[in-house]
């Protein structure tokens, strides 16, 4: 399970195109933008990581890509296109959700229906979303559980979520995601809350399945280790905005945005002796008091006067590298 796979974006078919997606939540202090003019693309056979701290809007983003926002939030602008079709159109969303794009959620304990057996949750998907009938449903259910590495599949079909271990639950969650043979899987912190060894197993399982089944994966995580192990490309998110986008190896070798730099320095590395860990100074942003300029400016050591005026656009700085920072010259501009 190494960083880059043979297919690394760019040259492959574009599946998902998100442009300027903005999700707002009304609060007493005005509208808070959970996701702010988000742009991302996922190609076929690609594993893209979106990394950011809690509250950076990653989970909101994952649901918004499917046109879903928990009330009272709403999508305020931008577009989401799946193979050219507008996912924000409810009719298209109804087709795409589950069947083309399937989500895997953070906490499988509460993301599986507590009152339905594993079998009945698979059955309703296979029956209603895939259109299987009769004995084919059971056969496919067993096959799916087998694919995600669950032994005694026949017995597990009768189990409720609360009767399974955390890792087992996440495997079931993955099986339900695979039920409709999606082309893209959005995995929102799929390993958070699991034991470290189980985390590795789940990650390896997802990696193998995506290779075998030719699925793309959008991995949403706060964990740079997960990104390093899993993804071909990564986007760093801060306060609802993308601040940097790069191929995985380049991001780790040469992070450009001050926030990415800070993130990398706050992760312990076993392969290098960097001396002390340094955190990022300051607090995560109070989203209600959004600065008019760069959201990272209050915590940034390189901040200059101009950073406070307007948010920096995400600009291309080199081949396949994009950064949103006034202190990084765009390609060809300097």
């Amino acid at each position: 399970m190494s960083g880059a796979s043979p297919n690394t974006g760019g040259s492959t078919e574009r599946l998902l195109e998100v442009k300027d997606l903005t999700v707002g939540f009304p609060t007493r202090d005005g509208i808070v933008r959970g996701v702010d003019r988000l742009t991302l693309n996922v190609g076929s056979h690609e594993r893209l990581g979106v990394v950011g701290e809690s509250g950076s809007g990653k989970s909101v983003m994952g649901l918004a890509i499917l046109g879903m926002v928990l009330p009272p939030g709403r999508i305020m602008g931008g577009s989401v296109r799946w193979r050219g079709e507008d996912v924000l159109d409810p009719a298209v969303a109804g087709r795409v959700r589950g069947r083309e794009i399937a989500m895997i959620f953070q906490d499988p304990m509460v993301s599986l229906n507590p009152l339905k057996t594993v079998g009945s949750q698979l059955r309703e998907l296979l029956k209603r979303r895939v259109g299987l009938q009769g004995p084919a449903i059971r056969r496919r259910s067993l096959e799916l559980l087998d694919m995600v590495g669950i032994a005694n599949a026949g017995e597990r079909l009768r189990a409720y979520a609360y009767e399974l271990s955390g890792g087992m639950r996440q495997r079931v969650m993955i099986a339900t995601a695979l039920a409709c043979e999606p082309t893209l899987v959005i995995a929102d912190e799929p390993t958070t809350g699991l034991d470290v060894t189980i985390q590795d197993q789940i990650l390896a399982l997802l990696h193998d399945l995506s290779t075998e089944l030719g699925m793309s994966v959008l991995m949403i995580t706060h964990d740079l280790g997960v990104v390093a192990q899993f993804c071909d490309r990564v986007q760093v998110m801060y306060a609802g905005r993308i601040v940097e986008r790069a191929p995985i190896n380049e991001m780790f070798a040469d992070p450009q945005h001050p926030y990415s730099l800070g993130l990398l320095h706050s992760v312990p590395r076993v392969d290098r002796d960097d001396g002390e860990l340094t955190g990022i100074p300051g607090e995560p942003l109070d989203r209600a008091r959004f600065p008019p300029g760069c959201a990272f400016e209050p915590r940034c050591s390189e901040a200059r006067g101009g950073c406070r005026d307007a948010p920096p656009p995400l600009l291309k700085t080199a081949d396949r590298r994009w950064v949103a920072c006034y202190n990084r010259p765009a390609e060809g501009s300097a």
Binding site: R97, M103, V110, L112, N113, P114, K116
Partner: protein, 306 residues
């Protein structure tokens, strides 16, 4: 499961025993059936005679023993208003009351579940407000008033159903609605709130993200998860019906049930009969609670077998 059930039944029987003992205390310690049955100006001699006739001149302990041992074999004493065994009088009226409560429960459940789901589906839209309006109105209006209103409109003006009595299915409709509307109002609001909350939970979000429609998710995912609360609340509504609504509504509709019998017994100063009616109604409440527990256990496998 069986052991759990046996324990629950024994506990229920104990509750019935305690409740009936309390009834005995009220009817024999604080007052006595003889005094109540006689006019205030009755002579002391007359009272003593009546006491002896009813056997309540004996020590309380002996009377209590009689009461309890009678209870075990279903003997609740003799009604002196009707000169018949009280238990026979009550049990004759019981089917009518059960029919009425069944009708009212049907109205409650069949109105509350769809209305709650509809309101949740159209959260903060017109149907939601309409259901809320209905609930507020039905909860605020006293059942007897709803009863009279229904009689005036549907029985007197439109002539669709009989005004009173219990002749066939048609006569069951109005009293069932008179009792069930308020219960449906409360239950609809509880259902709506429950579903709206459940819809924000990760498992519902997961279902929606798999492409299931909002209506499918409400009916097949969230409603199951509020069903346990729904059944519990329905049990409470049944309790209210047995202990209050049926009494009032049976009088309004001249329905020949246990509630109306109790009122007649009170008017006839027949304490033995009142006592018998209370014992039977209390038993129904306890049985209801037992059934609710069993139902919850069947809906939610996580309910502790305690």
């Amino acid at each position: 499961m069986l052991r759990w059930l046996a324990r629950r039944i024994i506990a229920a029987a104990l509750v019935v025993f305690v409740v009936t003992s309390l009834v005995f205390v009220v009817t024999h310690v604080f007052t006595d059936p003889a005094t109540v049955s006689l006019p205030l100006e009755a002579s002391e001699e007359h009272r003593a005679q009546r006491r002896a006739a009813l056997g309540i001149d004996r020590p309380l302990g002996v009377q209590y023993w009689d009461f309890v041992s009678g209870l075990v074999v279903g003997d609740l004493g003799e009604s002196f208003w009707q000169n018949q065994p009280a238990s026979k009088l009550v049990l004759e009226r019981l089917p009518a009351t059960l029919k009425l409560v069944a009708g009212a429960t049907a109205v409650t459940v069949l109105l509350a579940a769809p209305m709650g789901m509809l309101a949740a589906w159209w959260e903060r839209r017109f149907p939601d407000h309409a259901v809320l309006g209905f609930s507020m109105a039905s909860i605020s209006a006293p059942p007897f008033w709803i009863g009279y209103l229904l009689i005036i409109v549907f029985a007197v003006q439109l002539g669709w159903v009989p005004t009173f009595g219990s002749r066939g299915f048609a006569s069951l409709i109005l009293p069932s609605f008179a009792i069930g509307l308020a219960s449906a109002g409360r239950l609809a609001q509880m259902t709506r709130r429950g579903i709206v909350e459940e819809l924000r939970k990760p498992y519902a979000v997961t279902a929606l993200s798999r492409g299931f429609s909002r209506s499918y998710t409400i009916v097949h995912h969230t409603f199951r998860n509020v069903a346990s609360g729904f059944v519990t609340m329905t049990g409470w509504e049944l309790t209210r019906m047995f202990t209050g609504y049926t009494v009032v509504i049976e009088v309004v509709f001249a329905w020949p049930g246990v509630g109306r019998l109790a009122v007649q017994a009170i008017e006839g100063r027949d304490l033995i009969l009142v006592q018998a009616a209370v014992v039977v109604l209390a038993t129904l409440v306890v049985v209801t609670n037992l059934l609710v527990d069993i139902a919850r256990r069947m809906i939610d496998p996580r309910v502790e077998l305690a």
